[in-house]
Amino acid sequence: MNRVQRPTDLALNRTGIYLSPTDGPAVVEGAREAPSSPGCARALAEVRRQYAGEVGLIGHMPAPASLRVVENAGGTPVPRHRVHLLLDKLGERLAFERTGVRLFDALIAKCEAQGSWEGGPTLAELAEFRADEAHHFALLQDVLINLGADPTAVTPSADLAGVELAGIVQVVSDPRTTLPQALHAHLVAELVDSASWEQLVDIADDFGETALVHKLREPLVQELHHRDAVTAWLKRHAALVVSGTLDYGA
């Protein structure tokens, strides 16, 4: 991408109907005259409801090698489905953090190519955040292994995290997107990630797993920092654009 190009510059964007003074009104007129299928948008809900009543789940939890720690938390047996909630969510965070590493890889490449702005991310900061994600991934692997679970298994929530993240990967890895556009997509990931770490700590706390809670608090703090940093970079970028002082040479 040419560094002097900005997505907010004017060019011929052909998507709006008002760009077509003749064809625009004609297409409106054509739609008005055409008969429609009977019913309303509620028809879609009916089909969705029908399928929801008939189909099974996306998938289930894998059978663990053994559940050593949590099943007997505090000396009291814990029902297996509750243990699986914790394992499912640990698996979800593991998948998210691993993809997070790759998101930062793509952000670093973009920052190298495009440069940053005063108050924006530096390569060193992005590399530090990337190392945090990698560390969280490794920590979750250890936690799952210690709980007797298989850290390579894709749990149902981990699978859905992959679906959720797909759009973010697309925006960040697109060479046509600017660093602020990519960071905006990445902010979605950081907002979900920080909220999900909070939830994970709460679940571990509910199990009375004090040592686990302690382990999970450090990533939570770091993810909250990531979220705030990305937010600040984007706010600063907007402020510089508004003041007309944006310079990518920082």
Binding site: G56, V101, A124, A153, Q170, V171
Partner: protein, 401 residues
């Protein structure tokens, strides 16, 4: 275990009907279903797509039979739809590619291992090692772009390691053509293998072409362009194995027989009861298609169809992992290439191939880039601390700019 094609009753064509709801069933589970259930769906779909393609082209040769062609084609199309729609939406395009490469590798390996004609078997093994390498490159892409582990799709049936490097697979068109089998002397199994391999190669080519541009990442887009090109070569190779002297009705007969053979294998090995019911239903459909075409063939060509297709099948395709065979082929034939219709050591490849390859790679090799230094570990390469903790910054900018 045999399937008697003359005694089995198919479903009458008038009863081969669908509804939209029937076509759009609950998909398989990416997490819970067996990898080979996914593989079978891919291969079945590829077979149906090949049937539709053939029956469209056949109208040019047998216009007098266009009604029967249209009738069967419509059913084949809906069979293809039902099979394709059994793939789940949480399976990403890249995961679908991994699954398709696994199908090409595992089914290709089984056919190569069982193929009675040594020359055709060699051609299948050539393609096998190339698909095997595609799988490795796609796994590297999935790992490095999305941070995900291809083995979750492969379920440990198929190794993730280099095969014949994709960068060395590009050959001049004339070096992808093979000698065709003799229609009068070749075993029916060979004819079916050539068709199934061709259908699968065609399907994977189309898939790479469809999916490649949906990626934003430039390395991914380049890699898919490169893999699609090799799959075009594989289609060329597989199609060239088929005797051009076969009449179009003979080809139709063999196409239907190949579908019966595929569905029989799918039915014999399926573990998911819902999908098994689909195989049972489609096998009965295809037995009837084969009967109709057999009748037409005998009436039109005044020959016994049993001279072309067998009256029974011996062993069905097993759809099991072929690790041992693949490793054996890897060890023995990694350095093999092709010159003209012959298989030769890589250093004996033609000048045309060498210059074709050099031209394509003048601005870099996507398959080499994506897998630079890549070694798969359980849970992705990031599970290896040496990779995970290595610096990702360019040396001169390590302090940020």
């Amino acid at each position: 275990m045999t399937l008697d094609l003359l005694r089995e009753h198919g479903t009458p064509l008038a009863r081969q009907v669908f509804t939209w709801k029937d076509l759009v069933r609950e998909p398989i589970s990416k997490l819970d279903d067996e990898a080979f259930t996914r593989v079978r769906l891919i291969v079945g779909y590829a077979g149906e797509q090949a049937a539709v393609r053939f029956q469209h082209a056949a109208v040019h040769f047998g216009a007098e039979h266009r009604i029967l062609l249209a009738d069967l084609r419509r059913v084949e199309h809906h069979q293809a739809t039902l099979l394709r729609w059994l793939q789940p939406a949480d399976q990403s395009p890249l995961e679908c590619s991994i699954a398709m490469a696994q199908a090409a590798v595992e089914v290709g390996a089984q056919m190569a291992r069982c193929e009675p004609d040594p020359y055709v078997a060699q051609a299948l093994r050539l393609g096998l090692l190339e698909d095997f390498d595609h799988l490795y490159r796609l796994a590297a892409l999935m790992d490095r772009l999305e941070g995900r582990d291809a083995n979750a799709i492969l379920q440990s049936y198929t190794d993730i390691r280099p095969g014949r490097p994709t960068a060395t697979q590009h050959r001049a068109p004339e070096d992808d053509l093979r000698r065709w089998y003799d229609r009068c002397a070749t075993a029916p199994t060979t004819k079916l293998h050539a068709r199934i391999a061709s259908a699968l190669a065609y399907q994977v080519r189309d898939h790479y072409l469809d999916v490649g541009p949906t990626f934003a990442d430039p390395v991914a887009r380049q890699l898919y362009a490169e893999l699609a090109s090799v799959k075009e070569q594989h289609v060329t190779q597989c199609e060239s194995l088929i005797d051009p002297a076969e009449t179009w009705l003979e080809r139709w007969l063999l196409q239907e027989a190949a579908e019966v053979y595929l569905y029989w294998g799918c039915l014999a090995s399926e573990t998911n009861p819902r999908v098994r019911a689909v195989w049972e239903r489609f096998l009965a459909y295809e037995i009837e298609h084969l009967r109709l075409v057999r009748e037409l063939y005998e009436k039109t060509e005044l020959r016994d169809a049993s001279e072309v297709v067998p009256t029974s099948f011996g062993d069905p395709l097993a759809f099991t992992g072929e690790r041992a065979f693949i490793r054996e082929v890897l060890a023995a034939e990694l350095e093999l290439g092709a010159a003209g219709t012959e298989f030769v050591p890589r250093d004996a490849e033609s000048r045309a191939t060498q210059s074709y390859r050099a031209q394509l790679e003048r601005e870099g090799s996507p398959s080499e880039t994506v897998a630079a230094g890549y070694r798969w570990s359980p849970g992705t390469e990031l599970a290896d601390p040496r990779i995970r903790d290595a610096s990702v910054l360019p040396p001169l900018k390590a302090t940020g700019s």
